[in-house]
Each structure stands twice: as C-alpha cells, then as structure tokens.
Amino acid sequence: MSSLSLELQQVRKSFGRAEIIRGATLQVTKGERVAIIGPNGAGKSTLFNLISGRFGLSSGDVLLNGNSIRGLKPFEINRRGLSRSFQITNIFHRLSVFENLRCAVLWSLGYKYSFWHRLNKLKDANEKAEQILEQIGLKSRRDVNAGLLTYAEQRALEIGITIAGGADVILLDEPTAGMSRSESDAAVELIRKVTVGKTLLMVEHDMSVVFGLADKIAVLVYGEIIACDTPQNIRGNQKVQEAYLGNHAPMEASA
C-alpha cells in the first residue's frame, strides 16, 4: 500500500491548441494539507477539474491511493474516496440545508438508488447529516431552502456537502473566496476541524489562509508545478519569487 494519497504524473491538458496544464507532477502524502497557489490563469481550477474527473486528461496519469483514476467519471472517482468543492457555489438550491447534506451522505452509506427505503427511517443517514449540520454551524438553518442562505452560509454548506460522504481526500476550490476577514477566519477553523485525519488539497488566493492551514504549498505557474515545499521554504524559494515578480503579481501579504 502506497503512503501517497494522491499523485499526479506528468499531467497534461490541452483545449484545442492551447495547452493549459503542461506536465504537472505532484505527490501528496496521506493526511497532508497542501495548498496550491499561483497567479491568475495558471490553471489551478483546471487542475482540480482534471483530478476530480470533470475534464479528461490529455496525457499523464492521476493516482488515488496508488490506483489510476484516469478516464473515470466524477461519480466513480467520488466513490473511490475523493470529494471536491467548487469555486462557484454548487448546491441544491430548492432543497433544504438538511436535505442537501442527506443527499450527500446517501451513497457512502450504501443506499444507492434505493426506492424501497423510507428516508426518515434511515437512522444512520439522518444522524450523519445532523452531525455535519452541527459541524458546519448551520443547525439553526436546518429547514431553510439552501438557495435562501447568505453567501457565507452557502460556502459552509458547500464544504459540508463535500465532506459529508466521508471521502478521505478532499479538494477545496477557493473555499474562502469573497468572504470578509472574520468570515474567512471562521471558514479556516471549519476546514481545520472537518479535515482532521484527511488529505486536503486546496486552491486559495488568501495567503493568510494558506499559511494558516497548509503543511505544504505547491506553486503552479503556466500549467507546471514549479515547487512544492513547506511554507517557510516556499517563501525563500528563488524560482517562486521570480515567477511571481516576473508576472507582476507579487505574493500578496505574505503574512
């Protein structure tokens, strides 16, 4: 058994003639928290879409717990224990907060496409959904339609749906985008709490969030991962500084 949760091997992706990801290679050990940073347009979200199966690879391979997931559909990858969130909130608007979470736990508890179980009688699914509800702090909003939540609440629900299925590799795409300082502090606390013991890969622009959460930072520039190291080493890395300064995008608030 490999000790790597996730491994990218020379991943490439082209859209037409434009090559967006140019041989990205990355190794993430079990239980590690890795933040992917990089200037706008570096391909961070594309990389997430490749790992989670939203797009197919042009070449290269992605290994999840040592097994290739190349060419699998998103739901197959999810069933193998990888779950992701979205940069633009992607929830079930007309269902209540509780129903959102219950939908997210059903597959992992083995209910599949059952039309012979009564939802309200599924003790394990209901308890799990309630527990996630408590964790993401939306207990008082349990029966509200998800579409009516505030932005920060929707972001919390987004994370809740992502972790509800119990996946052990979690991908978060800009979990704190568009949040105020206090909201994003709360989100960091939430992420820390719900990803204990799990492997976390996240795209994030907010450097205080990155340095607050990540064990390692991977720097993606022009579709290549030019460095992956501890926050301290990344800060002192010559190549990273050049890449950022060369692109006139200084590392904001390297707090």
């Binding site: 739901f75 129903e99 496409y113 009564r118």
Partner: protein
C-alpha cells in the same frame, strides 16, 4: 413532538382522500358525472406519473403517452386473450398488466431517452412519440389501425358479484388503483432515489460529485414513472373498452403536460388538481362551446406567465393565510379583485363566443344563444355590452390591485416573521 403530529396529520389526509373516493359516486349519481369521475381518476394517475419526471426530476417529456398508451394496448390485448380463453387475468388485475407493460417500454425506450437531459431529452422524447405513432399505422395487427382495438370488459366469472358491467364498479376499480398508485408515488418522493431525483433536478453536476450517476437516476425514475403511466393506461382501456392510436400520440402527451403544469408541478397534489381542471375543460366545456380549446390554451398561457406554481400554489397560499389567521385581512380585497376579473372575463368570453359563432356557425343565422339570451352577433349592441363589461372589469381590477398587493405584501412579511420566530 412536531414530527409525530405531522405524521398524524398525513394519516388523516390519506384517510380523507380514501373517504372522498368512496363517497364521490354517492354525491354525483348521474351517469355522465360518474364517467367523468372515472376519467379524472385515470388522468390523475397519468399526471402524477408525469410529474415524477417534470416536477420531481426536472425532465420535460413530450412523449409520456407512449408509456400509458402502450400499457393500454397490452392491457386490452390481455383482456381479449382472457375472453378468448388463452390467458387468465381477472379484470381487477388488468391495470397491473398495463403497469408492467409501461415499465417494460420504460426500460426499453428510457435507456435511450435518459442518456441526455434538458432540451436534448425533451427533443428525443418528441421523436420517440412520433416514432411510436408511426408504428401504430404500420402494425395494424397490434394497434388495430384507424379503428383501434376494442374489447368487452365483462369477461370471466363474476367475483363476489363484480362483473365490471355497471360503470360504478369500474369507478371503484379506478378509485382503488388511484389510491394505491397515489400512495406509491408519494412514498417514492420519500425514498433515497426520490430525493436524489430532486437533487438532479436542482443541480445535476453536483450530484455526480456526491457519488451518483445522474443518467441512472433519470433512467430508474423514468422506469418507475412509466409503470404508473401504464397502470393509468390499463384503467382507461377498461373504462372506455377501446384503445386507439390516439392513446400513444403526441396530443395525449401534450395534454398531460398542460394539465400537470396547470395543476402545479411544484406540489405533489398539483397533477391531481390539474387532472380535475383538465378533464373539466376538455370534457364538460367541449359540450358547451366550440371554443374550448381556445380557452384551454389561453388558460395554460395565463398560468405559465402569471402563476408558474400552478393552481396548487394559489390554494397553498390561501391555506397558509388561513393557518396564520390572516385571511380576514385579505379576503375583501381579494374578493373585489375576483369580482372585477370575473366581469372582464365575461366580456371576453362573450366576444369569443360571438366571434366563433360568426366564423363557424353563421349558416344557421346571426342569432345565437348566450346563457339565457338570444344574441344577434351582427348587431352593435351585444358587442358594445361585451366591450363595456371588459372595460369595467379591467379598470376595476386595476384600481383594486395596488391595495390588494399592499395588504398581501404586509401579510406575507408578517407570516415570514412569525415563522422565523417559531424556528428560533
């Protein structure tokens, strides 16, 4: 406990529904009324099954009659084979034959149609219904050509004196299957698959990222929906004792969409209300006026544009007012608005009727009967009265509307506040 009380009230509702089904023919004893109830029953099952797709899973189908219609054909062949002695299916169970037939065709056709969603799905279903309609002319042995297949529902030995000769016995057969199907389809909404179908309606992409194959969700939902559609087809075969190519056609498929939308696709009960209104408009209204299709079309457009939640949403809003004891504040203005709208509507209807008479019925002279009066459609006077009615009604409604909207807004805010306080 809140949960317990809601479970109780649900039980009471189901009991009331069963009771209503039992006593309905005692209240409407005339033969015509009874056959109307029978039609409403079958259309209710059809509409509910359609809404499993449209309202619950977000699949707009233009070809749902394929499943009810083919179910009806198989059912009627089963009846004829039973009459000939080659099969032994009691009439009571014929709807189930229709159901399994519908399910079979759901498995067959659904595999293709549910590969896609949204607009593509809608267009494939339209192609499918045309395909089946074309087949109905190509295989007269099965579809019976232009005349269709007819049968006699009084077959086999009478069980406990039930022969299904009298219409009232057919009514109770339909009522029984309506109740069973309604319970079945309601329970479906409370199962994992039913809930995931809602999720697919809201956001198919995200469903793929919580472990579900949306294509399977659509496929399985369609198969179950086709089963109930087939039951409704089997019942209509028994009720009319004839099944023709119309039963599998695009018009039937379009009508169920119309009815279901008019009733309200966002509520479980919506298609049932839609079935009552739809049968009323097509069967009763067509006895009174040639313009019934015009009225049905205008009514549908009105609902789509101004009440997208359907008639059920209007009823639910009034129920909410009653529940929070706010109805007293609204009803006067609401009543005035209704009265003025009714006056305007009378004017419009009078004009439509006179126009239809002039266009289609002028051979019989310019005079027609409108309610209790003989009206000369060539004269200025009746048109003048109709226009005046329209103007009075429209102007009145316009005057009353702002006040109504103000009160309605106030009341809605109060109710939302009350609900929030109850939550906290």
């Amino acid at each position: 406990m809140a949960f317990k009380s809601s479970a109780w009230s649900r039980l009471v509702l189901w009991a009331a529904f069963a009771l209503l089904l039992i006593v309905a023919p005692l209240m409407f004893t005339k033969g015509a009324a009874l056959s109307l109830l029978c039609q409403m029953g079958t259309v209710m099952i059809f509409g509910l099954s359609y809404n499993m797709l449209l309202g619950q899973s977000g699949m707009l189908s233009f070809g749902h009659a394929v499943y009810s219609g083919l179910g009806a054909f198989i059912a009627i062949h089963a009846m004829n084979l039973t009459a000939a002695g080659t099969l032994h299916v009691p009439v009571t169970l014929i709807p189930l034959v229709g159901g399994f037939a519908g399910m079979f065709f759901g498995i067959l056709f659904g595999y293709v149609t549910t590969k896609k969603s949204g607009t593509t799905f809608a267009m494939i279903t339209l192609g499918l219904v045309e395909l089946v309609a074309a087949c109905s002319l190509m295989f007269p042995g099965f579809f019976g050509g232009e005349g269709g297949i007819s049968t006699d529902r009084v077959i086999g030995n009478a069980f406990l004196g039930i022969t299904y000769g009298p219409q009232v016995q057919v009514y109770y057969l339909i009522a029984f299957w309506l109740f069973v199907s309604t319970v079945g389809m309601y329970v479906f909404t409370q199962t994992p698959l039913g809930r995931i179908a809602n999720a697919v309606r809201d956001n198919p992409e995200r469903v793929e990222f919580v472990g579900y194959d949306t294509q399977w969700v659509r496929y399985m939902t369609l198969i179950l929906s086709a089963f109930f559609a087939g039951i409704s087809g089997g019942l209509s075969a028994i009720n009319f004792e004839i099944v023709t190519a119309e039963n599998v056609g695009a018009i039937r498929s379009g009508l169920v969409l119309l009815y279901t939308f008019i009733g309200g696709i966002g509520y479980f009960i919506g298609p049932m209300i839609g079935a009552v209104i739809g049968v009323f408009l097509t069967v009763i209204l067509s006895d009174f006026t040639k313009a019934w299709q015009f009225y049905l079309g205008v009514f549908f457009i009105f609902i789509v544009m101004y009440v997208p939640g359907g008639v059920a949403s209007i009823l639910m809003m009034q129920l909410r007012l009653l529940k929070f004891g706010k109805f007293a504040r609204v009803w006067k203005r609401l009543g005035m608005l209704c009265v003025f709208s009714l006056i305007a509507l009378t004017g419009v209807v009078a004009m439509v009727e006179m126009m239809y008479h002039r266009a289609l019925d002028s051979d019989n002279g310019p005079v027609m009967k409108l309610l209790f009066w003989d009206v000369d459609t060539q004269a200025t006077m009746p048109w003048g009265i109709a226009i005046v009615l329209l103007i009075i009604g429209a102007a009145g409604a316009r005057m009353v509307k702002p006040g109504f909207q103000r009160v309605w807004g106030d009341v809605s805010i109060e109710i939302e506040d009350a609900m929030r306080r109850a939550d906290a």
